[in-house]
Symmetry: C2
């Protein structure tokens, strides 16, 4: 029930913000489905207690035994198996912790504040006794010895309410990638509370750094596609020569494996503006299996939130094994661990093994015994990558690896 | 001689751009001291050959035996010992590589282009034979087997010409930190070549991502100080609540040990706008010894460029060992490696051991046997760090650790 409500909200939001011209009002988090969802769960608990029943929490099982890859949806999803945490002498601590965590989320949503995992851990540890309603007091006996414990409770709660925890005010504390190009980001000025527009063509050599909180951001663009690049050096090259102007696109730097905020940003952007996403990684099993795959389908370990973070619109623009031949690129030998990673992907990874094009590409790479880097195009000239390679690849998106 | 010319340029530039109101013209890199410096070195070689002498390159020795900590200057400096690389049968390869690297730098400066270390390595490997003047051809027998080789040649050249290699067009390929607050960054729009102003108060929850190329950036600000923070989570907190407005400051995120571009950015900003820099790290030997010390005095391994990257204006605002007591903060026990790092700093690190306040602080930490994190303030309330702690510390900059 709850999940349905949420999904329809997500879909509605996407549809509403498709037209770049239309004015879209950002929903305050307090009117968000996150809040009603939290309250719904709290009411269940309260109802149980009032009616003399022992209250319980129903939490989807997050272990890999309850995860499957949905070919239809194109990402890892969590199954139907749940664990029921009924209040008892044994479960009182995690039960109390979950409820406190819910109250804290409510506080964060209400006050439009936010907290990193580490801050949550410390908040619980605090000695200030300002009561539940401030959301800020020490949690007394419900505090955590180590952050592992609070992280697990947070993951449970995230799975229970069925939305990504960022919508509950919990933020990842990572340095995210950055953005340059034909894009207006619409946000709220934290100093004035007014709506502002951020023009991603106006940063010179610099760029717009993706914040940890991307929920509620809106976008306006006339770009034709989003290109997501693995390395900082390539981003610098494309942005330093304003490739976004010529290519009429939005360039996103990942800086390696994309963070949660980076993935969510690309997903929201692509959804709301109906843009294709082309991912540009090094041509090696790590680039394909860890970076591209994470961006496109998420991971089995976080199946309960993949629907918010995966980017099913993504395709791999390069560097492909075939590019090595087509562009006569310098390579490096595949190491044993690279080969193992590729073989493992073909054999065991449901995303790769169910996809003929990917199986052939990975087999091709193993056979050639080499890997190739994004920077290798420099052997054909410093700006060859943007003057020749990308335009050629962009002529045939249907040929890109899916 | 060359070094002197450069230094006076640097000083002149700083002085000229002190007044935030004055219009400062960004020097094109082709009119930069880097270019004249390169040409001066090339002329020496050319002169030698013309006069029937074997040409030679004079390169400062970069090993630690030729590095000392200058108490007066406040950073690691390189000594007078040099190695002379005279052209001979044995040295012909590195000699040729150095000269090709110089020609490539000239090309980059002339065309206002840039290259990462990895791109340089691949450029040399290239098969395109477009001649030296394009700067882009394969270097034939002067190409490199591994990137180690090209990196070493680049470091040598950097030390030889006596300026940081970014001024020669070589960029570090790292993801840098970001900036929010009362600052206008003045840059050139890569799409139009026109001057643009980037308003760092106008990015909502997002921020300005520091580019790899910061040479030539200019700044205008009315802020009173720069605060440089270690963690992404704290940056998000300060920026998410527009602390820069209340504090009238510029907030810079480092994301761990600051990159070259991050350090250079803070240095240029602090120099040109005469702003104090307050660094805010976790309270542990790693935060002090690796993050703060790198920002303030650079490292012995890169002594030949420290004068461009160190930030002598920096002070440590926190978290100090004394803060643990003053603010009753939750802590974690020091691990054995933390203790060793602190003891090593007191005993062997010329920056720390010559500074009584630092010796006392480190001894204090070892004695307490604990470390403290930036996020620990959350135990006193989520925004305590910005509502109470920072204002209190800012009242007495003279009490900050130097």
């Amino acid at each position: 029930m709850v999940n349905k409500t949420l999904k329809s909200f997500t879909e509605k939001k996407s549809a509403a913000s498709v037209s770049a011209k239309k004015k879209v009002v950002r929903p305050g988090l307090s009117r968000s489905p996150a809040m009603s969802n939290l309250i719904e769960h709290a009411k269940d608990i309260y109802g149980d207690i009032k009616n003399g029943r022992r209250p319980s929490l129903t939490i989807p099982i997050r272990s890999l035994t309850n995860v499957s890859f949905s070919l239809r949806k194109g990402f890892f999803t969590i199954g139907d198996r749940v664990s029921k945490r009924t209040l008892s002498y044994q479960t009182i601590k995690p039960f109390a912790q979950t409820v406190r965590m819910m109250a804290f989320a409510k506080y964060l949503i209400k006050t439009d504040d936010f907290a990193s995992k580490r801050e949550v851990y410390y908040t619980a540890k605090g000695s200030a006794k300002r009561g539940v309603e401030t959301g800020q007091a020490g949690w007394g006996p419900a505090s955590f010895k180590e952050q592992d414990e609070s992280d697990a409770i947070m993951d449970d709660m995230e799975a229970m309410v069925g939305i990504n925890r960022e919508q509950l005010g919990f933020i990842p504390a990572e340095q995210n990638g950055s953005v340059a190009g034909e894009l207006m980001v619409i946000d709220i000025d934290p100093a004035t509370g007014r709506k502002i527009e951020i023009d991603c063509t106006a940063f010179g050599r610099g760029s717009y750094s993706i914040p940890s909180r991307v929920e509620g951001l809106e976008f306006r663009t006339r770009a034709k596609f989003v290109i997501v690049v693995e390395t900082a050096a390539l981003f610098e090259r494309l942005n330093g020569h304003a490739y976004w102007k010529e290519g009429n696109c939005i360039i996103v730097a990942m800086g390696g494996v994309p963070t949660r905020a980076n993935r969510r940003f690309v997903r929201l952007l692509s959804d709301s503006c109906k843009l294709p996403v082309y991912v540009f990684t090094d041509g090696d099993p790590y680039g394909y299996g860890n970076i591209y795959r994470t961006m496109k389908v998420g991971s089995g370990n976080a199946a309960h939130i993949n629907e918010f973070f995966c980017v099913p619109q993504a395709k791999l623009i390069g560097v492909t094994p075939q590019d090595i031949r087509d562009y006569n690129l310098p390579t490096h030998p595949l190491e044993e661990k690279d080969k193992k990673r590729a073989q493992d992907a073909i054999k065991n990874d449901p995303f790769f093994k169910n996809n003929k094009q990917w199986v052939l590409a990975l087999q091709d790479m193993i056979k050639m015994g080499v890997r190739v880097e994004q920077q290798a195009f420099a052997a054909r000239g410093l700006n060859y990558v943007m003057e020749t390679y990308l335009p050629e690849k962009l002529r045939n998106p249907s040929k890109m690896l899916p």
